[in-house]
């Protein structure tokens, strides 16, 4: 179903445009042609991000940069740590505070102005919320930034988080959690603020489920691939990642880096690290919001699941698998690389998904011993609150709220299998994590892998140790939280592409709804007789 590169007649005079392989990959720097965000199709349909504002929560934006000034939204920019309404990046000799300007370029750099490159959503507005250049962070600074002007800012992009050292377990504090909840419930006049998070730079030593921001249900966690579809060396993997975009990450070839704007009117080819993943995704979401401004924060996640593509992404460690409703996912890339063309086309006709319900499916509170000899296997059988008002029939997110302590936290391994057999790695080994005191205290391990599945049945949690030396532990709590819709989310959607995941999911829903209707009528007949 891929279009020929020559079909794409996007021509921009921006000098770096031909090097922005993540926009249009024609094989630059040994890349794989066609492995990009497919923005050309969205642009050709007329969607460039008009009317959408993205906030880059970072170290400020060079709002004097000729490629950014036109799209800069000064009114929505601020710095809460020093109360500065004009948050320009603070100067350092090593240009340490270039991060926000580089991210801004990936989203909103102007097109056809003969400067640097082109943003994914080059007609969008970009605001700078400076919050990363003070000596320390506080809950108030974070919460204030994340809840800044939620009726003006549509998308918040974050390329930061707790330290990715492979031994940290941290996330949003109380006020920031409240701000995020406020954002998804009241932001954008009730449609919900869109939070986009770069999943982490910790490489194979870390697990992004230990980052409470990235693994939150309210953020869309984005990982990154390099220009030939392989993983970046710094990529972390986890079950809460929803989709992927691109960054540099493995090759010395400078042109395999991410081209974007840099401080003081400069351009760069070397925006490195997974931080580029979030603004690229924010740009794709901005195109979708232009196509359909009524999309809610949940609609955006559904669209990401349904339109992301495996394309030619390759993960040497984790196989691509299909969940219980046939959706293909990977433990690192999530549901695949974002496809802007497919997303705007689906967004245009999208009917907002039904109400969301929350069900506490079950809980095991008795302490269970864990040893190195064999795995601890626990099960919870649930009817997903069927028959009650909060019945969650079609899954979105699933959380395993777990309290566990052990002699070495890094050697712990958690896997959870759904009733339809979908296995999620909730926690991988983190060899550097030698904690033996704190453990995990009611930590919400989240998985997106069971999206769309019927949660009724038996869920299995396997807890074990991996690593050379013998360890011991105690699991004190496992509570299974199901989040999803009661009615089929795709049954009323318009299908235009019969090869699409939406077509497959809708067919699956129709069949299941029919089966259940037949079953119900048989039961009532038997009862009558």
């Amino acid at each position: 179903g891929y279009r020929r590169i020559s079909d794409i007649d996007v021509d921009m005079n921006d000098p770096l445009f031909s090097k922005q392989w993540y926009l249009i990959n024609t094989g630059q720097a040994d890349g794989t042609p066609g492995l990009d965000l497919n923005v050309a199709e969205a642009w050709e349909l007329g969607y460039t991000g008009k009317g959408v504002t993205i906030a880059i929560m970072d170290d400020g934006i060079d709002y004097l940069h000729p490629d950014l000034a036109e799209n800069y939204n000064a009114e929505a920019s601020y710095d809460f740590s020093s109360n500065d309404p004009y948050p320009y990046p603070r100067y350092t000799d090593d240009w340490f505070n270039s991060h926000g300007t580089r991210c801004a370029g990936e989203v909103s750099a102007a097109a056809n102005d003969n400067v640097c490159g082109v943003g994914v959503a080059y007609s969008s507005k970009v605001a700078g919320i400076r919050m990363l250049d003070q000596p320390f962070m506080t809950d108030i600074i974070e919460a204030s930034s994340i809840s800044h002007m939620p009726q003006t800012i549509d998308i918040y992009s974050a390329s930061w988080g707790p330290t990715d050292d492979g031994k940290t377990v941290d996330g949003p504090r109380e006020l920031t959690l409240q701000a995020m909840a406020d954002g998804v419930n009241k932001g954008r006049n009730g449609k919900g603020s869109i939070y986009v998070w770069a999943s982490g730079d910790g490489g194979s030593y870390d697990d992004c489920n230990c980052d409470g921001y990235a693994s939150s249900m309210w953020t869309i966690s984005i990982n990154s691939a390099i220009n030939d579809g392989r993983t970046a060396l710094y990529d972390e993997s986890c079950s809460s990642t929803l989709a992927s975009t691109f960054s540099n990450g493995r090759k010395r070839n400078p042109e395999a880096g991410v081209a974007t704007t840099d401080l003081y009117g400069n351009c760069t080819l070397r925006h490195s690290g997974t931080s580029a993943a979030a603004p690229e995704a924010a740009g794709v979401f901005a195109l979708s919001l232009e196509a359909n401004p009524n999309l809610t924060w949940r609609d955006m996640q559904h669209l990401s699941v349904l339109t992301s593509k495996r394309n030619q992404l390759h993960d040497e460690v984790h196989r691509w698998r299909r969940n219980g409703v046939g959706l293909e996912f990977n433990h690192l890339f999530g549901y695949g690389v974002l496809d802007a063309g497919a997303m705007v086309k689906l967004a245009k006709d999208w009917k907002t998904v039904p109400e969301r319900f929350h069900c506490i499916a079950g809980s095991i509170q008795e302490p269970q011993t864990i040893t190195s000899e064999d795995k601890l296997v626990l099960t919870i059988t649930t009817d997903a609150c069927e028959g009650k008002a909060n019945f969650a029939r079609y899954l979105e997110h699933v959380q395993a709220v777990i309290t566990v302590n052990s002699t070495r936290r890094g050697d712990l391994n958690l896997n959870m299998t759904s009733p339809t057999g979908t296995k999620s790695i909730l926690l991988s080994r983190r060899p550097r994590d030698d904690d033996s005191k704190v453990g995990f205290d009611k930590w919400p391990f989240m998985t997106t892998h069971t999206w769309g599945e019927d949660p009724r049945g038996t869920w299995t949690l396997e807890v074990g140790f991996t690593g050379g030396t013998a360890q011991k532990g105690v699991l004190k709590e496992w509570t299974l939280m199901l989040h999803g819709t009661q009615s089929a989310p795709y049954i009323d959607q318009i299908v235009r592409d019969y090869q699409s995941k939406l077509a497959m999911s809708k067919k699956e829903e129709l069949e299941e709804e029919l089966d259940e209707a037949v079953e119900r009528s048989l039961k009532s007949l038997l009862k009558e007789n």
Partner: protein, 85 residues
């Protein structure tokens, strides 16, 4: 890890007006007052007599605020680390 505390306090007031917040802050010896952009009656008070960061909590200043009948809740802000990716 050692906890680090700042000279900033999250204060929830009965009366969510800015004037009331400034009045409480001035009376209790706090210099900086800023409204938190969401929630009801949430303010950030800053005390210039406390070090910006230290490993000891300022229990005295917290209790001093909590005694005020116009105050619902007080929590001293911790400092923690966030890294660019």
């Amino acid at each position: 890890e050692e906890r680090v505390y700042t000279n900033e306090f999250l204060v929830q007031l009965q009366d969510s007006g800015e004037a009331a917040a400034k009045e409480v802050a001035a009376e209790r010896g706090f210099t900086g007052v800023r409204k938190v952009p969401f929630g009801e009656g949430l303010y950030q008070f800053t005390h210039s007599g406390i070090p910006k960061t230290r490993q000891r909590r300022s229990i005295h200043h917290k209790r001093h605020l909590e005694k005020d009948p116009r105050v619902i809740h007080v929590s001293q802000q911790e400092a923690f680390e966030r890294r660019k990716r």
